[in-house]
């Protein structure tokens, strides 16, 4: 006697729904018992007592995007490496370890080249320095 196959995903669904329900229910219950006296000043965003100037949804610095960009490439890379790394031990036991190691090594080497390129070109630097022709700055 064992659980049927898809039943194993039950806890995941229960937990996700539980999280949603917990947040909604607590906020709903809280609505009944907590005070609610909004005022225009209270509902301002907090900026150390000053009146806020403009919206915060303004154009941000590009470097956050560059971080996300390099991240997603490495994220995808690790996602692709998970199954290969997972079978490395099995294949090593039957004497194919060298081959798989070489494949992994090549894969990592190509991506390390990408990282090295970004490093060399200064994409990894947070404080960007721009080299002008005159060598100033």
């Amino acid at each position: 006697m064992s659980t049927s196959n898809l039943d194993i995903y039950m806890p995941i669904l229960i937990l996700l729904i539980f999280g949603v329900v917990l947040v909604s229910a607590t906020l709903l219950i809280g609505k009944l018992i907590r005070p609610n006296n909004p005022s225009p000043v209270k509902n301002q965003p907090y900026e150390c007592g000053e009146d806020p100037i403009g919206s915060a949804w303004s154009v941000f610095n590009m470097r956050f995007y560059v971080t996300g960009l390099i991240f997603i490439i490495f994220d995808v890379e690790s996602a692709l490496m998970f199954p290969v790394v997972g079978v490395f031990k099995d294949l090593n036991d039957i004497g194919m370890g060298g081959l798989v190691f070489m494949e992994l090594f090549l894969f990592l080497l190509i991506l390390a080249a990408g990282l090295a390129y970004c490093w060399r070109k200064g994409d990894l630097d947070w404080v960007k320095t721009y080299h002008t022709e005159k060598g100033q700055e």
Partner: protein, 385 residues
């Protein structure tokens, strides 16, 4: 393959009998209903336990910091102030819920929910013991990494939805920090997957032993470095000091949850403290032997399970303590230092580690350093005779 707590409990006669009698009563196979009930009960227990851990985490944080700074800390509610977290929770529930007029109401609701859902999703695969793991998913490690990335999105949307400059900066920093530090964590856990040859937590932990020399942290020099990379990355992923830039009190007021009040803030805090437990559990499971008990004490029975839970939870709490002490010991990094540390130190070292662990695996067939040393020592002593 996928073991669950239900399949463990079904070994016992009373539960089998319950299923059979219920099936006879209802006229169809009641296994799904019974497993649903068991899952619900176990999940309620585990979530209650982790919520208590999260609450006590806030208490421990304040008490330990008080000890380190020669203060007393919370001491009014209950003995030694241990019930302080309940008082805090009640206070948060009763606080007024302020939503700024300029903010995005939908995101204000979604952001704490994403944090809570992301953390609760990880609970399903935490390996408390060989039997009492809620779900021993055969890709548990990847699942944990994937579902916990919801937290980063919640942090960002919380900062964005507030429409306040401080929140915005905090959310931006938080998101870029969390995603950046995910890479070293994934790379160093990949090296452990390489050694154990499986993606489920039972395979990862089963490849280790009860004694410290059988743990993966002491398997070879590279995994020793890998542990620290994973631990640093975990600290950064949970926004703990010295990486608490998203909520840096002294520069960003309170970071991404500046505008959140009452229970919404409470959810962020709860998610953070539970996530610290989860990542400490991850480090324990990957590097510190997980739930293994030395000499397999207690066997496979119920006593053995309790000992395994004790082994896992005590190691995790030790790491939790280290996390808290670290917070009150080290100063905060600057943003550029943070990014430099991630991209120029941790990731290259982690990639190098992965390759070297692969090489070690290939050359020594996955034998640990201690096994090799013992063997050479016994060979030497055998030659001496």
């Amino acid at each position: 393959m996928n073991q669950t707590v239900v399949s463990y409990l079904l070994q016992f006669e009373p539960i089998k009998k319950l299923v059979l009698s219920l099936s006879n009563l209802l006229g169809f196979n009641a296994i799904s209903i019974v497993s649903f009930l068991i899952f619900l009960i176990v999940i309620l227990i585990v979530v209650g336990f982790l919520a208590t851990v999260g609450g006590l985490g806030t208490y421990a944080e304040r008490k330990i910091s008080a000890d380190m700074q020669a203060r007393i800390g919370p001491n009014r509610v209950g003995p030694y102030g241990i019930l302080q977290f309940l008082a805090d929770g009640a206070k948060m529930l009763l606080k007024e819920d302020i939503i700024p007029t300029q903010s995005d109401k939908f995101l204000f609701y979604v952001a704490p929910m994403l944090c809570i859902v992301g953390v609760f999703g990880t609970i399903a695969v935490i390996p408390f013991s060989s039997g009492f793991t809620i779900l021993n998913f055969n890709v548990g490690l990847v699942y944990l990494i994937g579902i916990s990335s919801l937290v980063g999105l919640g942090v960002f949307l919380g900062g964005y939805g507030s429409n306040s400059k401080w929140s915005m900066l905090g959310g931006m920093r938080g998101a870029s920090q969390i995603i950046s530090y995910e890479i070293p964590v994934v790379l160093s856990s990949l090296s452990i997957v390489l050694l154990s040859g499986g993606l489920s937590f039972s395979a990862l932990i089963g490849a280790q032993g009860g004694w410290p020399h059988e743990w993966f942290i002491f398997h070879n020099p590279f995994t020793f470095i890998g542990f620290f990379i994973l631990f640093i990355g975990s600290l950064a992923e949970t926004n703990r000091a010295p990486f608490d830039l998203p909520e840096a009190e002294s520069e960003l007021v309170s970071g991404y949850h500046t505008e959140f009040s009452g229970m919404r803030f409470g959810f962020f805090a709860l998610a953070e403290y539970i996530e610290v437990f989860v990542v400490c559990g991850l480090a324990t499971a990957l590097f510190l032997g997980g739930y293994n008990v030395p000499m397999h004490l207690g066997g496979d029975g119920l006593i053995g399970q309790v000992l395994q839970v004790g082994s896992f939870v005590s190691k995790t709490f030790l790491l939790y303590y280290i996390v808290i002490v670290t917070r009150w010991t080290l100063p905060r990094l600057r943003v550029d230092q943070l990014m430099t540390m991630c991209w120029k130190y941790l990731i290259p070292i982690a990639m190098f580690n992965l390759i070297m662990v692969g090489l070690w695996m290939w050359l020594f067939d996955g034998r640990s350093l201690f096994t090799l040393l013992f063997k050479s020592a016994s060979v030497a002593s055998g030659a001496g005779h």
